[in-house]
Symmetry: C2
Subunit: 210 residues, 2 copies
């Protein structure tokens, strides 16, 4: 029955994670959460000050995990630069275990707020990590741009909006064109020869499946 506050908090977050993933934030009632955990109303509000507070805690837990994983990959200097870039991008989608299916269900309209908040985390958290790698690449003469951070910001924003969200509806053919164009554009942005990033971008989309 009685548990440590942190344990209870996590139980509540686990339950909310699953329910929000299935039904969305608006589609989940606090009653469903507390019944799933097996606690009373008051207990829920003892640990969290509001329903949105639960969502914020969930995103926090998720983000920390996500960005830590990405950072670890980025900092691993034993791996080639190209491989690290791929690894960081893929880490965003596979989502390291803690919040299992959040990313799969985040795109539904019921989750607009949650989506926006996660988007914010990614847009602010990922470019700095990627920029570190790109700077190394610039030193090695692989890339050439005076604005590596803003390049990465542009790339991350675009990928997240066009390829990961349902903002743009595309046929498979249209998506193939988009990927081709995207590759071409990144090459221009990073100041490398046309075609030299084809394999790396290809890998991102194949392994990530979208």
């Amino acid at each position: 029955m009685r548990k440590e506050a942190e344990e209870r908090r996590n139980e509540i977050l686990d339950a909310a994670d699953e329910l929000f993933s299935q039904r969305g934030f608006d589609g989940t009632s606090t009653k469903e959460i507390l019944e799933k955990v097996g606690i009373a109303r008051g207990t829920l509000y003892y640990h969290f000050k509001s329903k949105e507070d639960i969502m914020d805690a969930l995103i926090e837990r998720y983000s920390v995990n996500l960005l830590e994983t990405a950072q670890e990959i980025a900092a691993n200097k034993t791996i080639a630069i190209n491989e690290r870039i791929i690894g960081v991008v893929l880490a965003l989608k596979i989502s390291g275990g803690s919040s299992k299916e959040i990313m799969e269900h985040i795109h539904k309209p019921q989750n607009a707020l949650m989506h926006q908040k996660i988007q914010k985390v990614i847009i602010n958290g990922v470019p700095p990590i990627l920029t570190g790698i790109i700077r190394e690449g610039i030193e090695q003469g692989l890339f050439n741009t005076p604005f590596p951070y803003e390049c990465m910001e542009m790339v991350v924003v675009y990928m997240n909006t066009v390829f990961d969200d349902d903002m743009v509806e595309m046929t498979n053919e249209e998506q193939a064109t988009r990927i081709q164009a995207f590759t071409f554009n990144i090459e221009r942005l990073l100041g490398v020869e046309s075609g030299s990033l084809m394999s790396i971008v290809k890998q991102m989309f194949e392994n990530g499946k979208g």
Copy 2:
């Protein structure tokens, strides 16, 4: 008392427009809307099937107006290409009268869903318009890219996310750097000489104030 359906619909939309702008979608109750219009509950639900339906109609009305204005500017061949690009971009912010303050209040977290829907309209509606102008520019030898559409998509997505939303919090100094980098990146994307788009981008941000 009794009015034509379309007139009532518009009254309701006008009231909702104002209230949503002030308090956001979630923060506005249907009661407030119907009291502002001076009708009973049943009447509201006679004209709209749900609260979200009101929002969708509002966005529809807003979008049509917005994209029509942008299209008119884009099609006006008496104006120089550069001027038309600026005009289209500015049309997005100034928002042509119909929905007065929507864009000013859209960024608050309470409006996440509305924001997402408008974002979708812009990302799908604006790039085609801009691409038309860019293609003309390519023919005239002003620009050089095999992927004008995808370039514009990238530019629009980036501007809307980084400069128009509150996704990225920036100091004035940081914003200045972002604009400088943004200009540089567009130049690379459109295959023009460094510095040649400086004045046009500058105008966009000065006239639009953000």
